[in-house]
C-alpha cells in the first residue's frame, strides 16, 4: 500500500470518484486528479453546492476516536469519507464500548444483494430515455441529518459545473423520529422515480436502532422536498435490496429482524405510487429439518445481530431462477443459513430451512459473538454471509463483524470466519470447508475483487487482506499496519483506503493496485560469506509479490548501502525486473569484510 496523500484539508471527502464514463477524473480532498495517472489538474476543485463556486467542504475526514456525538462527522462514518464506484467499507475506529453510538458499523457495504448494484453511497442510475442521474448520499450513518448531492445529465467535469441539487436535512436535537435516505437503488422503469433504502432515527437514543424501510425520490429533481417516505418502516428490521423484478421492473427488498434470526419480509416497492406489497412473510421459527435444529436461539453468548444476506446467484436446481443465503442460527447456535429461491416468472419466493451440513458445525469454531447493546448500538454487531465461486466450486462464508472497541480481541472464537462448500446440485447441502481466525476484532469487511475471492478486513491497527484458495480457504496474504477508516474499490479496481492517526487528526489517502508490490524479497545465495582478501562472486535472488501473494513483474531499484559489496564493475546500484514465475538472479561481488545492506525501492 502506498500513501499517496497526506491530509491538507479539514471536513472534506478524502476520495470521490466521478463515475461519469465521459470523464476520467477523481477528487482527492475535493481537488481534481486524472483518474488514470493521478496527475493533478490545475485549479480544479469540485462544486459541492448548487449555484455556488468551487469548494470542497462536504464530507468527513477528521478522526474522532472518543467523541460520541455522531452529528460531528468523522472519517469512517459513511460515504462522506470515500465515494467510490464499487463496494467500500468503513469503520469509525471508535474507542468506545457498550451502548454507545461510536461502536456502530456503517453498513452501506452490505445493502445490495444484486450483482448489478454496488453497495456504495455513490450511485449512477440511468433511465430508459437516457436520463443519467449520479447521486451521492453522504450522511453520517448514525445521526438524523443527511446530505445528498446529485448531478442529472452532467455534461462537464464536476469542477466545471454545480450539482443539479445539493441539500438534505439538517437534523435537530429533540426532534421526533426522522426519515433519512440511506442508499438509492433503481428507477422503476419509465417512471423517473428512484427507490431508496431508508432509515428512521432520532437524534438521541435511537440513532442505531435497525428501523428501516423504503422511500423514493425523483430523477429530475433529487431534492429533499421530493424525498417521499413510505410508512412501511419496520422496527427493528434491516433492509437489503434483492434485485429487480423481471415481471414488472420493480425493486424487491428483504426485511430482516434484528431481534431474532427468522423473521423476514420479502417486499416489492411500487415506486411510482410509493406503496409496498409484501410478497411473503416469514415470521414463524423453523422446525428441525436436515441438520438444522430449528427454533429461536437464546441471545446470551451470541447476542442480537443485524444479519445481511448474500449476493443473488443462479439457482442450480431451476434454470432461469435465482437464489441466495441469509444467516440463521438454530437453537443450538449452529449456523444453518436459509436458502431462498426466487421464481423469476412470478416473483414468488421459497425459504428453505432444511439445510444439511456435513462435517463441523459452526460452533466447533465460532460460538461467541457480542450482540448489540441497545438502541444506540444495535448496528455494532453484524453477521454477513457471502457466496462466491472458485475454480468451478461454490462456497459460502459467514463473516462476524463488530464495531465495539477491541470487543473480541481476547475471544478468537468470536472473530472466526467459517466457510462451507456448496453441493453443486443441491444448494441446501453444505460441507464444512475451513475456519479462519482473524488476529483482532473484525470491525468491517469488504470484497476487493469482483470474483469475491479477495477480502479486506478492517481491524483496529491494520488492514488484513485475505485471498481464497480451494485447499486452505481464506489465507492471510498481506497486512497493512495502520488505523484505517475506509477501504474500497474504484471503477478500475484500484483499492483505496483512508488512514487516521498517522498524520494528526485527519485522514491520509492510500492506494493499492495489483501491480504495486507489497513485498520485495532479496535472498542471498549463501547465508554467510568468509572474506579472505579475494573478491567473492555470488548472487541474490530477487522477487516481488502483490497483495494477493502472487509474484509480479516490476522494476525494483537496488542500492548497496556499504563499501564491502557491489553489483559488478564497482556499481552500487542497479535495476532488476522481477518475474511472475520465478526468482530473478542478480550478480553480486563481495569486495571486503563487514556489513553492507541492499536497499530496494519501486516507482509507483
Amino acid at each position: 500500500m502506498a500513501e499517496i496523500k497526506t491530509p491538507s484539508k479539514a471536513n472534506v471527502c478524502s476520495v470521490f470518484e466521478d463515475m461519469n464514463p465521459n470523464t476520467n477524473t477523481i477528487y482527492l480532498e475535493g481537488e481534481a486528479y486524472n483518474k488514470s495517472t493521478l496527475a493533478p489538474i490545475f485549479n480544479a476543485a469540485m462544486y459541492m453546492y448548487t449555484g455556488e463556486g468551487q469548494t470542497y467542504t462536504q464530507g468527513s475526514n477528521i478522526y474522532r476516536p472518543t467523541d460520541v456525538n455522531t452529528y460531528n462527522q468523522r472519517s469512517g462514518d459513511g460515504p462522506g469519507t470515500m465515494a467510490l464506484a464499487k463496494e467500500t467499507a468503513f469503520s469509525m475506529q471508535g474507542e468506545n464500548t457498550g451502548n454507545n453510538r461510536n461502536t456502530n458499523v456503517p453498513f452501506i457495504n452490505f445493502l445490495s444483494m444484486a450483482e448489478e448494484l454496488r453497495s456504495t453511497g455513490l450511485q449512477r442510475i440511468t433511465a430508459d430515455d437516457g436520463t443519467d442521474l449520479y447521486i451521492w448520499q453522504l450522511r453520517p450513518m448514525f445521526y438524523n441529518y443527511y446530505r445528498q448531492i446529485s448531478w442529472t445529465n452532467p455534461a462537464k467535469e464536476l469542477y466545471q459545473q454545480s450539482p443539479t441539487v445539493s441539500w438534505g436535512y439538517n437534523g435537530q436535537s429533540g426532534s421526533s423520529e426522522i426519515h433519512v435516505p440511506v442508499m438509492a437503488t433503481i428507477e422503476e422503469n419509465g417512471t423517473k422515480w428512484v427507490s431508496n433504502i431508508t432509515q428512521q432515527i432520532r437524534y438521541d437514543g435511537y440513532v442505531a436502532r435497525p428501523h428501516m424501510g423504503l422511500g423514493r425520490n425523483s430523477m429530475q429533481d433529487y431534492s429533499d422536498t421530493n424525498d417521499n417516505w413510505n410508512t412501511t418502516m419496520r422496527n427493528p428490521y434491516t433492509v437489503q435490496y434483492i434485485g429487480k423484478s423481471t415481471v414488472d421492473n420493480k425493486p424487491i427488498y428483504l426485511y430482516n429482524s434484528h431481534d431474532n434470526d427468522h423473521s423476514h419480509y420479502v417486499t416489492k416497492h411500487n415506486v411510482s405510487s410509493n406503496t409496498t406489497t409484501d410478497l411473503h412473510t416469514f415470521t414463524a421459527a423453523p422446525v428441525a429439518a436436515g441438520t438444522n435444529y430449528g427454533g429461536t436461539r437464546a441471545t446470551t453468548s451470541m447476542g442480537k445481530h443485524c444479519k445481511w444476506g448474500s449476493k443473488v446467484f443462479d439457482d442450480p436446481t431451476s434454470a432461469g431462477n435465482k437464489c441466495f443465503y441469509v444467516p440463521y442460527f438454530d437453537a443450538n447456535l449452529n449456523y444453518h443459513p436459509f436458502l431462498y429461491q426466487w421464481d423469476k416468472s412470478d416473483d414468488t419466493f421459497v425459504r428453505n430451512e432444511d439445510i444439511t451440513i456435513s462435517g463441523d458445525l459452526s460452533t466447533v469454531h465460532f460460538n461467541n459473538h457480542t450482540g448489540g447493546q441497545g438502541d444506540s448500538s444495535d448496528f455494532a454487531s453484524n453477521f454477513w454471509n457471502e457466496t462466491f465461486e472458485s475454480s468451478g466450486n461454490r462456497y459460502l462464508t459467514l463473516f462476524p463483524v463488530h464495531g465495539s472497541y477491541q470487543v473480541h480481541d481476547n475471544t478468537p472464537q468470536a472473530r472466526t470466519f467459517v466457510s462451507y462448500q456448496v453441493d453443486p446440485a443441491d444448494p441446501k447441502s453444505l460441507t464444512h470447508h475451513s475456519a479462519t481466525i482473524v488476529p483482532v476484532t473484525i470491525r468491517n469487511v469488504v470484497m476487493l475483487n469482483d470474483a469475491r475471492t479477495m477480502l479486506g478486513v478492517i481491524g483496529e491497527g491494520a488492514i488484513y487482506i485475505y485471498n481464497w484458495n480451494n485447499v486452505d480457504g481464506w489465507v492471510l496474504t498481506t497486512t497493512y499496519a495502520g488505523k484505517f477508516t475506509g477501504l474500497g474499490r474504484d471503477g478500475t479496481d484500484r483499492i483505496w483506503a483512508t488512514e487516521v492517526g498517522a498524520n494528526g487528526s485527519y485522514a491520509s489517502i492510500h492506494i493499492i493496485t495489483p501491480s504495486i508490490p507489497v513485498k520485495i524479497s532479496i535472498v542471498p545465495a549463501s547465508t554467510s560469506y568468509n572474506y579472505t582478501g579475494s573478491d567473492i562472486s555470488t548472487s541474490v535472488a530477487v522477487s516481488a509479490y502483490n497483495s494477493s501473494g502472487d509474484r509480479i513483474a516490476v522494476d525494483v531499484s537496488l542500492t548497496i548501502d556499504g563499501s564491502t559489496m557491489n553489483f559488478g564493475g564497482g556499481s552500487t546500484s542497479t535495476v532488476v525486473t522481477t518475474s511472475i514465475s520465478a526468482d530473478v538472479t542478480q550478480a553480486v561481488t563481495i569486495t571486503g569484510s563487514g556489513l553492507s545492506d541492499i536497499v530496494a525501492s519501486v516507482q509507483i
Binding site: 423520529e177 438521541d204 405510487s273 410478497l279 412473510t281 416469514f282 414463524a284 421459497v350
Partner: protein
Amino acid sequence: MDFTIDRDSVDENGDPITVTENYSASLEGGVATVNHVVEGDAHPAVTQPWNPLPDGSRADWNDIEEVVNWYKANF
C-alpha cells in the same frame, strides 16, 4: 375502515410518550389498500393483493378487519 396505531416514542426531553397514527383501509376486488392519514390527507402506504401468512404462504383476504389486524401486526 379507519383505524389507529399507537406507537411508543419519546418527547424532546427523552421521556416516553405515545404517538397515535391514523390510517384508513379498504378491500376492493380482493386487493387491500392501506393509507396513512396525516392532517386529513390520505397517503397510500400498502397495496396488498393477498394476505401474506407467517409461514410464507398466501391466502385471500376474508374481510377488512383481517386487513387491519394484519397491518397492525406487521408494521
